[in-house]
Symmetry: C2
């Protein structure tokens, strides 16, 4: 990890740069796959699954008996951990259901919002070496809690056409309606356009590689909503002189092991902590199975020494990290100064892993500085707020002349007339 001492504010912008992603030609490749699925439906999906996932499928939807089989294959300890995490996630997301009130803005003019679940949602869970059953919980539980009618999930099959049992168990536990054995851009296309087997959804959620991300962006231009733009995972750790360097190093590495394009940052006021963390990272990395991945992520990463906590907080808010961990004596007070971050972990007993899996907060969070404008996935992500209004005749009598004046000012006579014709009624 590169360490930087007392950088001038003019250097901050450079310090906060994310690793550059190369995507030349990516959109063209992905667009061709999207078109193929839109035009070819299920037939195209079977071809693409053979090509990309090397799976010769005979059906796309996971059969009911596979869930029963999955449940037998998973150790009891893992099942009970998944159930406990699911309970916490449900509890926290249920608390987010908004309570909305009617407002009489003018006498006889009553306005309100109503939270209505998005009817059909699609979740994407990537494949790869490890089964991301935690992400199944993080997406499906809020969808169920919000009350979405139809919750489908796509995830790539292995070469035998099977889905990891932990994914199936988590999906069943959370309450997913149906699972499809489809990966990559073709899964996004299937959910965006619909096929004979896969229903078209109104919003697509979930992480993925650059192809999946590009596919989500392209379908979001016209056909469907998406959760948020996704980028490589990242963490910033804030530390003062009271912090524990071995805890910090473990936190940095828990992020660095995600992928070679991950980024971790330490922002500290303590030269001692900086050098201790540097040493601890080296020591702990050597013990990790994924040390090569972590090592490459550490190449993108920085330890920054700053002159006081004001600078630390300014730099952290400028970075707008996906995860922010605060190791400091006054962690709670510093947390109140956070304006840009996805999820904040306060104090030495709050590792990011807690929120990644089981505390109840969501781990689908804005990366790449998007935390300046986006929230992580939460109950809002699965509802829309419809506004309603009801005017009494007297209410329109009071409000109508204001509307008439404004409509005339915008030269929209038919807008004005919709009021005038009512006010003129005897």
């Amino acid at each position: 990890m590169k360490s930087i001492e007392f950088p001038d504010r003019s250097q901050w912008k450079g310090l906060l740069e994310r690793p550059a992603l190369s995507n030349a030609g990516l959109y063209d490749t992905v667009k061709a796959i999207l078109d193929q699925v839109r035009d070819g439906g299920d037939t195209a999906i079977y071809q693409l699954e053979k090509k990309f996932d090397k799976a010769e499928l005979t059906s796309l939807q996971v059969e009911d008996n596979m869930f029963t089989e999955a449940e037998k294959l998973i150790p009891e300890e893992l099942k009970s951990a998944i159930r406990a995490a699911a309970g916490n996630i449900a509890k926290f997301h249920k608390s987010q259901i908004p309570s909305l009130q009617k407002v009489e803005t003018t006498e006889g003019v009553v306005c309100w919002q109503k939270a209505v679940p998005i009817q059909k949602v699609g979740l994407y869970i990537p494949g790869g070496s490890a089964p991301l059953f935690s992400t199944v919980l993080m997406l499906a539980i809020p969808a169920v809690t919000a009350g979405c009618n139809e919750i489908i999930l796509c995830t790539p099959p292995d070469k035998e056409g099977k889905i990891n049992p932990a994914i199936l168990f988590a999906a069943k536990t959370a309450g997913v309606s149906r699972i499809f054995k489809i990966g990559g851009s073709q899964a996004i296309a299937a959910m965006a356009y619909g096929t004979e087997s896969v229903p078209k959804v109104s919003k697509i959620f979930g992480p993925g590689n650059s192809y999946v991300t590009a596919a989500k962006q392209l379908v979001s231009l016209k056909d469907v909503a998406i959760d948020m733009p996704a980028g490589p995972s990242e963490v910033a750790v804030i530390a003062d002189d009271t912090a524990d360097a071995s805890f910090i190093a473990a936190d940095l590495l828990s992020q660095a092991e995600h992928g070679p394009d991950s980024q971790v940052m330490l922002l500290t006021t303590s030269a001692r902590i900086l050098s201790e963390v540097q040493a601890e990272v080296t020591r702990q990395t050597a013990l990790l199975p994924r040390q090569q991945i972590a090592g490459r992520a550490l190449d993108n990463s920085r330890l920054v020494l700053l002159k006081d906590m004001d600078e630390v907080m300014d730099l952290a808010n400028g970075y707008a990290p996906e995860h922010l961990i605060i190791h400091a004596a006054n962690a709670g007070i510093l947390a109140e100064q956070v304006v840009n971050a996805g999820s904040v972990f306060i104090g030495e007993w709050s590792p990011e892993s807690a929120g990644d899996y089981a505390s109840g907060t969501n781990h689908t969070l804005p990366t790449s500085g998007y935390a300046k404008a986006y929230s992580g996935v939460n109950i809002d992500s699965f509802i829309k707020k419809i506004t309603f209004q009801q005017l009494s005749r007297e209410g329109l009598g009071k409000l109508g002349p204001i509307v008439e004046t404004m409509a005339a000012g915008e030269s929209l006579d038919a807008h004005k007339n919709a009021v005038s014709i009512r006010l003129a009624r005897k």
Copy 2:
């Protein structure tokens, strides 16, 4: 308007189609403008303003004295209408500020959300024949109410380099920080990338023509968040036999006058109402200054006779209209069955114009069926919800083993280690 009687459900999809938009080459044209601004900054803006708005500007920001001058130019009646509308909009959006609670998901594990305003937002207001000062209120008031630090606004100047005084007055009333005389894609580029004069923002709001919409979509892929995808305006009116045909015709026309690509729909169970509305639309159109625009919108529009209110509600929810007006004896009950719509107007004294201007609800709403997944602009649009968590040592003691089991199940050892290293601490 085309009228359709008792369509079979198999025909519904065709009935609900929006007018097709042609955009061949649009993205290429817009991308060139975006690149020009990103590379050239203010210099590029001056060139593009000369080219597209025929304005030879000497500065981009509207000077303070222009606001004072604007206030003198506007009739007192309009000023007082704008102030009254602003008050209602502020009242309704203030009621939307979420109250969030701390949740102890497991003993010693406390999670919460905090609503934090997006620090910098940019608003776009189109030019054209009429000054859309109402849209200034609809975007700027929620931004101010949410607590955004910096609220800038771009709108195209006229050939003399001036901005309509009603726009300036509304912006001042609402509390916009700074206004820039920039229109079209170049305005979106300026706010997305920043220039010497224009600050880079984190989220861009506002309507516009196809160039502005394409620019917003392109910058949203990587650089900045946007409010929602925008399309032509639309309304669906639901009516039973008790409705007033002249009110309905006025409501349909208030939408049709927006533009030739607008769409209006009547869904009714009454053959009498259908034919009376048809006649009233013809009669009222002839009286409108914008009758040519309205006439072209009516060509895209439909009157549909259905067999009962269940069919009406199904079709309305399938259409997911931006605006939905319910003219029926049991309008309140029908409104409860709405699952897809931007904003709903209940009963004969609630014309869409009320919400367009002054009742307090927002008029920036999802079009083109996006109401299935998107809300209209509301206080949420200007905030993000950051999650926080704080575990006590005992809390981690309880939750830690669950996290360890799950992390091991996903083969993420460093995630597990961030817990284990803490649990091992004597």
